[in-house]
């Protein structure tokens, strides 16, 4: 048994799928921009009911329907729709043939008879979620399944080939034009009338073309499927006629890309490790960005949210003219989490929150602090949070002494009154007071081997009247209060 998934008006559906949202609900017609003069190649039922017909010029079509959206046929849009069709067909069977534009044939050999039609309906639902409306036919041969798919609403399973084929018009078997003319002159209009003629007599009169037509009309032509392999590169791209100046159309197209690519990843039992998004801008620049996912993922919602979070932080100097999304796949980890392993509970959501906070405070102002290997004051850098926490070390045998510092950034410049070499009173723009407790000084210096890095200081711990413990430092640049012990 074979199933054929058929997308009627394939090029129109493909163009509509990536068109801006309003176009999807309006009457639409497809033209080929390379063809001169341009004519309507296909139109939606809404356009047809307004009087638009195939073969009209765009001006004629617009005269019939003022709300008509004229869409140019787009090779990238057709390629993306074809890839989506293929990805859904692989959910039916590993033996899939790309029969033609918008037509896919799958062998259902591995499915029990009772499972075949529900599986095909499920595939049509997946396609509908990807913005494509398909019909499906099931038949004993690929050809029968194709005939059925073209007439299905939305699924048609062929039981008896003879009963199914007999009433079909001759055009269903795609007769060559000259043969169709001869048969029409004989009064042959249906496949049943054709197959009622003796096969050998027809072959003698119409030659090999007539013989092949008879076999097609009888549903006898059997052929092996020319199977294709599942996609191993996960790329989607789109070029826009007009630059996109707001986020919404970019997100709309990315949603379509992500839905299709996620399905391809799931079919291949892979997950996304990195998303590489490239936006080409109207000023001939491009904005590439590699987003490393905190954890491999193949769910379209997760991938889309990651892209959306990034794009919400992006400001471009010009409109977006082209979008390319590439997914770097990886084998999804199959490990059950340990309650005590310190991993993030929802790594994707955490990464999104982090991206939002980075956009708010700056990417260099959020992260996990790591101390640098130096005694230079305030020497640290921030790194992204660890995906999994290492085991906590045993408590130190010699714990730190005293209160931790609450550091002033920058340090408060101070005016200090001295008695001999000892500070006795301190003024800063924030506070001042008599020094009632004092410890120090402690001398420190470092990086003397690098002229521009050399630092030198004298530290005092002071207690002010009435309260407050502070770190007072004397450097070649003057006196400063570096922080409060708190």
């Amino acid at each position: 048994m074979f199933a054929v998934i058929h997308l009627a008006d394939f090029a129109l559906q493909a163009a509509l799928r990536l068109a801006a949202r309003p176009a999807a609900s309006l009457p639409a017609a497809l033209i080929d921009p390379a063809q001169r003069p341009s004519v309507v190649l296909a139109c939606t039922p809404a356009a047809r009911s307004s009087g638009v017909e195939i073969g009209q010029s765009p001006a004629q079509a617009l005269a019939r329907c003022a709300r008509l959206v004229i869409l140019p046929a787009s090779a990238p849009a057709s390629a993306d729709a074809q890839a989506a069709l293929l990805a859904t067909a692989f959910s039916l069977s590993p033996a899939v043939e790309m029969t033609g534009p918008g037509i896919c044939t799958a062998s259902l050999q591995g499915l029990a008879p009772g499972e075949q039609e529900p599986a095909v309906r499920q595939t049509l639902s997946q396609l509908a979620a990807l913005g494509l409306h398909a019909t499906a036919g099931l038949g004993a041969t690929p050809l029968l399944a194709l005939y059925a798919a073209r007439r299905a609403h939305p699924v048609l399973a062929v039981g008896s080939a003879r009963d199914f084929l007999a009433p079909l018009p001759l055009a269903a078997a795609d007769p060559p034009a000259d043969v169709a003319g001869i048969l029409a002159s004989w009064g042959i209009h249906t496949l049943g009338q054709l197959t009622a003629l003796p096969k050998t007599s027809l072959a003698q009169r119409l030659g090999p073309a007539g013989l092949a037509l008879w076999e097609r009309a009888a549903g006898e032509s059997e052929r092996p499927l020319v199977c294709v392999a599942p996609e191993r590169t996960f790329v989607a791209s789109w070029e826009s006629e007009e630059p996109m100046e707001t986020l919404e159309p970019v997100l709309f197209i990315l949603r379509r890309f992500v839905d299709r690519l996620a399905l391809e990843l799931q079919t291949a039992a892979l997950a996304a490790a990195e998303l590489i998004l490239t936006l080409d801008l109207d000023d001939d620049t491009s904005l590439p960005r590699t987003i490393r996912l905190p954890e491999p993922a193949a769910q379209s919602d997760t991938l889309f949210r990651t892209l959306q979070t990034y794009l919400e932080t992006v400001r471009t100097s010009a409109g977006v003219t082209a979008i390319q999304l590439k997914i770097m796949p990886i084998r999804a980890a199959a490990r059950q989490r340990d309650v005590f392993d310190g991993a993030l509970r929802d790594p994707h959501r955490f990464a999104e929150t982090l991206a939002r906070i980075s956009a708010l405070v700056g990417t260099d102002r959020v992260g996990t602090p790591v101390l640098e290997n130096t005694r230079r004051p305030d020497a640290f850098h921030l790194v992204p949070p660890l995906a999994e926490l290492p085991r906590a070390p045993e408590p130190a045998i010699h714990p730190p002494l005293g209160l931790p510092l609450r550091r002033f950034r920058p340090p408060h410049p101070a005016t200090v009154e001295l008695e001999g070499s000892q500070p006795t009173y301190v003024w800063t723009p924030a506070f001042h007071g008599r020094i009632v407790e004092l410890a120090g000084p402690w001398q420190a210096a470092g990086d003397w081997w690098e002229a521009d890095q050399f630092w030198q200081r004298e530290e005092w711990d002071v207690g002010l009247d009435p309260v407050g413990l502070y770190r007072l430092v004397h450097t070649p640049g003057g006196w400063f209060v570096e922080g409060e012990y708190d």
């Binding site: 993030l344 509970r345 959501r349 955490f350 929150t353 959020v366 101390l371 305030d378 640290f380 926490l389």
Partner: protein, 214 residues
């Protein structure tokens, strides 16, 4: 009952009828390891806001934070510090006790409140600390009460502890309010930190019903 209180009660009743919610189970507390806190409140309540008022310099708010960092590191849970005035000093903390910390170095109160609002909804965190101690008090007093109630609503959806370090009573929706009011003398700078922690003077100012241990 005053007219305004009656109106408020009526509004609450109306909201409760219009938007009924299932009673939430008490999901417990985060032990702090600070005897003064754990003895009076059992720890810091989850799904609730706790306010730690630091009314004077050197009363130990950073020591309190240090202790929380050490405790949460042992439990292998994540902590976020929203540092409104960029005062945190990582060099004062053992490096191993920083590995689970997400430090957000803000430059304005509004920035800190927005970051806190985002983090208060984060399922991967167990503790969010919002440090406002060195924020300008007039600016802090201008934070509307509804902001604190919004944060309360946010943490109710998670299982995290939200701790606000403030220079004065600010958090209208706090379930637990503690105060540090004993400044440390300079001599204590030679005392081991565990001893300082065990001696830290924390007083209970407010403990609403939901924060009490079952």
């Amino acid at each position: 009952m005053s007219p305004s209180a009656a109106n408020l009660a009526q509004l609450r009743q109306l909201l409760a009828e219009r938007f009924p919610t299932a009673p939430r189970p008490d999901t417990g507390v985060l032990p702090t390891g600070l005897p003064a806190v754990d003895e009076i409140a059992g720890g810091l309540p989850r799904r609730a806001l706790t306010e730690l008022v630091c009314g004077a310099p050197s009363t130990g708010s950073q020591l309190f934070l240090t202790q929380l960092l050490a405790g949460t590191r042992r439990q292998a849970v994540r902590v976020a510090l929203v540092d409104a005035t960029d005062n945190f000093d990582p060099q004062s903390i053992p490096p191993a006790e920083l590995q689970h910390l997400l430090w957000v170095r803000c430059q304005a109160i509004a920035e800190a409140m927005t970051a806190a609002d985002l983090l208060a909804r984060e399922a991967s965190l167990d503790l969010v600390v919002l440090d406002l101690v060195y924020g300008s008090l007039p600016a802090l007093r201008r934070i509307p009460d509804r902001t604190w109630y919004r944060l309360q609503r946010a943490v109710e959806e998670t299982n995290l502890v939200f701790l606000a370090l403030t220079p004065a009573r600010l958090v209208a929706s706090a379930q637990l309010r503690l105060q540090l009011d004993r400044p440390h003398p300079l001599a204590r700078q030679q005392t081991p930190r565990p001893k300082l922690v065990s001696d830290l003077a924390v007083t209970l100012q407010l403990q609403r019903h939901a924060a009490r241990q079952a």
